[in-house]
Amino acid sequence: MILASTWIMLLSTLRDRAALLMSFVLPPLLFMVFAAIFSGTAGSDLKLKIGVIDAVGNDTSVRLVRALEAEHSFRFIILKSGDEAALSDFVRRGMADAGLLIRGDPRRRPDEGPPPLLLIEDTARPLAASIALGQVMRTLNEKLPDVALSRILADVEASGAIGKDEREFLNEAFRAHAAEGASFSFSNVIAHGVVGQSGKTGNGNLLNYAGAVVAVFLLFAGVHGALTLLDERANGVAERLAIGAETFDPTVAGKLLYLTAQGTLQAVIVFATAYIIYGASFMPSRTGLWLTSCILAAAAASALALLMCTACRSRKQAETLTTFGVLLLSAVGGSMVPRYLMPPWLQDVGWFTPNAWIIRAFELAIQPAGGIEELALPWGVLLLIGLVCTTAAAWLSSRRTAY
């Protein structure tokens, strides 16, 4: 009965175009959207739009504007004239994600007025302003180090450690040094190290999103397949097969077998998309670990979907419950937004979702280092979810059709 049930599921899926699209076309499409959004694969970098007004127009401010224009990670829109109100309006209307007003000479001393640069943030896009702030600071330090140092020297002068002549001497020395293109060690404090997959397309990040997308669609496709249990209960097939006469419904095992195979194929297609479209790959030696993660992830998600459906009395009830359940699990489990962006308590709650364990299993399986012992925990959790949910679903399905 188990293999017959699997065969029926296979034929039914092959002849159901909506199910085929849902299972094998939608996941890679959604992955490409996620990849474009979060990994910057659409253009190689995240391109925020920053509106800039140079209200000063002296040598230093012009140098700053030119340095910013040379940055490829942003799109700086230079407005020829205007004030704070005009720039705020520009940002408010969505013409830019954040605004930068150069309202004073960047070299001027702190005691000569308010900060010379004003960053304007739209409360609807707070992240844009934070990213822009970091980028402007980096540009100042790397491209205009003499300007950054002049403000430090002003502070030192204010503390009484040096006099005005010494400050001006040092300023001139730094300016000359900068004009020669020499490097300043203070702007070179941090070096950039990398762990995990690397490459021009951000392999690790892409593959993590592939795992996150796979987790959602394993659940959705699992639910789609599991709903057939309720259809079979409603149209009399279950009664015809005397389901309910046994303690455990054997068709649940048949459906699990099919859904696990289908889910594994889904995962392979999503990761293949990452490889073919974006060139994201992992070491061939990790293939076995990755494939095992695919199978266990598919089994756990399918078993959970079967349990959710068998717990319901009708298709309508199941559709409502599973949509709610899958979206909630995916949101909390990190399939929609990376968990490291979540508050700590929500990150902890995430471990109660299969999504978090599926993503973790893929993450550990595809990273260049680490062995099977590191995967034991996520694999164990996924296996446990699969076994417990399948047993419960088979028992519940039998009870639902018993008298």
């Binding site: 009965m1 293999l3 017959a4 049930s5 065969w7 029926i8 034929l11 039914s12 002849r15 159901d16 149209n235 009399g236 097939v237 009664e239 015809r240 097969l241 005397a242 309910g244 006469a245 046994e246 018993a402 008298y403």
Partner: protein, 316 residues
């Protein structure tokens, strides 16, 4: 409850036998002291009002409900390990995205056949039900009549000794109904025992070798239709008075005085009379009764009439 096997040779070989069955859902008793024998090569038609226990009786027969008391012999004993009894549900219990043949194969596999057996059983079942020509068509694309026939074919794949059909002709047109009736008669010729649960008295009259009436969990009449009808109606004819409008109170009283009672609707009344050679006089009397009569039909009483006589409401 005793479960065992027993073979006796009476008029025909008993396929299944229930003795003094009592069945209940929790503390709610449904079947009381019910005994029934189903024989090979016969069509047994079970009738009764809603809630009388027909579905419960079917569940006992297919092994889905264990009786709290009584004995089961023959095909219905030890159901979990046998494919001797198969149910054809009222609903189309098929996989719509599989062809007729694939459905039969799937169910054959589910009852334990290997692939070669399943193919052979499927082809045989489709031939028996006249579905060979549509074997490759997806069930979802078949007409209502063919779906019903495939619904029956699927139940035949395990070569059952007892086939139970729940309302096999409900919701289909006259032509399809006729084809289903032919299919059932053809199946009977193979020696299989057929139990039909129906509210369709035309089906019952045309198909039944024996009939049973289930009221309040008890089989109150069982036998060949002719015997059952003659025991109640003797030589009486069924006189059906079809009215052209709803009868007034006075007209209703007149009809009752003539011994008539409402039949299939408030505008159709019936009475059972042994008219002998007095047909013309009786019709004249009815015409003189100043009733809004549209038509008078005189026929031999059928199982529907007996059902109403026993107290059943017209289910249709």
């Amino acid at each position: 409850m005793t479960i065992g096997t027993k073979r006796t040779a009476e008029e025909a070989e008993p396929v299944a036998e229930l003795r003094n069955i009592r069945a209940a859902y929790g503390k709610n008793p449904v079947l009381s002291d019910l005994s029934l024998t189903l024989r090979s090569g016969e069509i047994f038609v079970l009738m009764g009002p809603n809630g009388a226990g027909k579905t419960t009786l079917v569940r006992v027969l297919i092994g889905r409900l264990k009786p709290v008391k009584g004995s089961i012999f023959g095909a219905c004993a030890n159901q979990s390990s046998s494919s001797a009894v198969r149910l054809v549900p009222q609903d189309i219990a098929l996989f719509p995205l599989l062809s007729a043949r694939e459905n039969c194969i799937a169910f054959a596999k589910m009852v334990g056949a290997d692939w070669r057996q399943a193919l052979s059983l499927a082809d045989h079942a489709l031939e028996l039900t006249g579905c060979k020509d549509i074997a490759s068509t997806l069930v979802g694309g078949l007409s209502g009549g063919f779906r019903r026939r495939v619904n029956i074919a699927v139940a035949l794949v395990g070569n059952p000794r007892l086939l139970i059909l729940d309302e096999p002709t409900v919701g289909i047109d006259a032509e399809a109904k006729s084809l289903i009736t032919q299919t059932i008669n053809a199946l009977k010729e193979t020696g299989i025992s057929i139990l039909i649960v129906t509210h369709d008295f035309d089906d019952a009259d045309s198909l039944a070798d024996r009939a049973g009436f289930l009221f309040d969990g008890r089989l109150i009449r069982v036998g060949a239709p002719r015997d059952l009808l003659s025991a109640v109606f003797e030589n009486k004819k069924c006189i059906e008075i079809v009215l052209s409008s709803l009868p007034e109170q006075v007209e209703q009283q007149q009809l009752r005085l003539l011994g008539a009672t409402p039949s299939r609707s408030a505008m159709i009344w019936e009475t059972f009379q042994d008219l002998g050679d007095k047909h013309p006089a009786y019709i004249l009397m009815l015409n003189d009764a100043s009733l809004p009569i549209k038509e008078i039909k005189i026929s031999d009483p059928g199982l529907g009439a007996l059902y109403r006589h026993l107290g059943g409401n017209n289910p249709t």
